[in-house]
């Protein structure tokens, strides 16, 4: 088990090294900072961003937008998901809405939101529209996957209805909520940044990337990308930790 773990870690490291190696080679072959800067100068650019004057507001506001969008999606997704999971008619009503939301290109939402909303609201709206269907769908799936045998057992033992919901259904959907939240976050961060690029709020990673691109600062565009990846992985890790704390029975 332990040997296998170290072996996998080794392979992961190898993959990262290979990726950086290819990057270095390609940048050498172009030989131009304007097209593809080498990894080391990008690293320097990334570190410089951390001490740039508006770094905190830029990153902070992007994260804040993401969290607001996530919170709204989370609450509505679980609420509506539970209703739809427990009621066929409501599920039939909600289904086309969820399918539409999931299959609409993110850019359509953005272009419409740009017309409809204030600039600051656009990324939050986009975050909500991309994250909500993931969480809601997962909650519905979770309820459908609740072990009927356990519900039957509880009914035979005349366990009251509210206790069955609380002690049988809710714990059963917790893992589904987490996996929904995790996919939602994965898509959400990307969507927010696209939203920021196009709506140009005063501060935001998307805004900063757009500015860097305008001045052909390729290393800065990549540097912001790296920061975006770091934010996304940080929240992914956080979710996993919280899940391990809550789902202790596995």
């Amino acid at each position: 088990m332990n040997i296998k773990l170290t072996k996998n870690k080794l392979i992961t490291t190898l993959s990262v090294v290979l990726l950086i190696g290819i990057w270095k080679l390609v940048s050498l072959s172009y030989g131009s900072e304007l097209i593809l800067p080498p990894p080391e100068s990008t690293l320097v650019a990334t570190l410089k961003l951390f001490i740039a004057e508006n770094f905190i507001s830029t990153v902070g506001l992007t994260i804040l937008r993401g969290l607001i969008g996530f919170a709204v999606s989370f609450i509505l997704g679980i609420g509506l998901g539970i209703l739809a999971g427990g009621n066929r008619s409501f599920h039939a009503f909600l289904k086309p809405i969820l399918v539409t939301l999931r299959s609409t290109p993110v850019i359509s939402f953005i272009l419409l939101a740009l017309i409809w909303f204030r600039v600051d609201m656009v990324p939050i709206f986009i975050a909500f529209l991309t994250m909500f269907p993931f969480i809601c769908t997962n909650v519905i799936d979770g309820i459908k996957n609740v072990d009927r045998d356990l519900v039957e057992m509880a009914n035979i033992y005349r366990v009251p209805h509210h206790k069955i919901i609380q002690k049988v259904y809710l714990p059963a959907i917790v893992p589904f909520i987490f996996s929904g939240a995790s996919s939602a976050m994965g898509f959400g961060w990307r969507a927010i940044i696209i939203g920021e690029v196009l709506s140009q709020p005063q501060f935001g990673i998307g805004t900063a990337m757009q500015t860097a691109q305008t001045y052909l600062l390729v290393n800065e565009v990549i540097a912001w990308t790296i920061i975006a990846i770091m934010i996304s992985s940080f929240f992914e890790m956080l979710l996993r930790r919280v899940e391990r704390k809550i789902v202790v029975w596995r």
Partner: protein, 234 residues
């Protein structure tokens, strides 16, 4: 002693007639075993008694106000609850938490799981999980315990262990037990009354009554009985 009676029972699924003008009596405070080929409707009978399946028609007499515990083929434990919590889950909420805990504790001790009180089911073996299910059934203040081949998935040694645990609990608290199985040994070790069911539509081919308290599969009287039962089975 009041008996539990089922009269003129009819039940079919699609084209299969399981019960047709079927009568059976169960003595109270007795372990009744039902032996029969698989698919003959044994489980359906239990489900009709527990009200999870509706009969097409028939009279169930003496069952109305009875409270029922059920030990299923699978343990059916809540994965997110520990041994103790799984037992107290079925207990009435009008009891205080302390009362429920002490009941759960008592029954986990009776099935010799007190060292595992705070374990989640995923950390228990199949036999231990089934013992929790037995403890849950007895901790619940029921009149009737229904058992649907709860030992099916277990090996012989665990089976004997569980049968011992079950008999010990039952000796202290003689509830009406209806136990469905297709294993003759289980019926000989546990049953007071043994009913042999035919293939569907079900008829009772024969009823055996065992009065001995000490059970041994190697005793000559049991071997003889086993042969007689064997001859009745399809």
């Amino acid at each position: 002693m009041m008996n539990l009676q089922i009269k003129k029972l009819y039940k079919s699924f699609d084209d299969i007639i399981l019960f047709k003008d079927f009568d059976i009596d169960f003595s109270e405070h007795t372990i009744s075993c039902i032996l029969g080929p698989s698919g003959c409707g044994k489980t359906t009978l239990l489900n009709m008694i527990s009200n999870t399946t509706q009969p097409d028609s028939g009279n169930f007499m003496g069952f109305n106000d009875k409270i029922i515990s059920y030990i299923f083929q699978e343990p059916r434990l809540l994965p997110w609850k520990t041994v103790l919590e799984n037992i107290s889950f079925v207990l009435d909420d009008s009891l205080s938490k302390k009362e429920k805990d002490s009941i759960a504790l008592k029954y986990s001790q009776l099935v010799e799981l007190e060292k595992f009180n705070n374990y989640y089911p995923s950390k228990l073996s199949g036999g231990m999980k089934q013992r929790v299910a037995i403890a849950r059934a007895f901790s619940y203040p029921s009149d009737i315990i229904l058992m649907d081949e709860p030992l099916k998935a277990l090996d012989l040694r665990l089976k004997m262990n569980l049968i011992k645990a079950f008999r010990r609990l039952w000796q202290m608290d003689k509830r009406t037990v209806i136990f469905v199985t297709h294993d003759i040994d289980e019926a000989l070790l546990l049953g007071n009354d043994i009913y042999i069911f035919s293939k569907a539509p079900v008829e009772i081919k024969r009823k055996f009554v065992i009065t001995e308290k000490e059970r041994s599969l190697h005793a000559p009287s049991f071997l003889k009985l086993k042969n007689e039962i064997w001859e009745q089975m399809d």
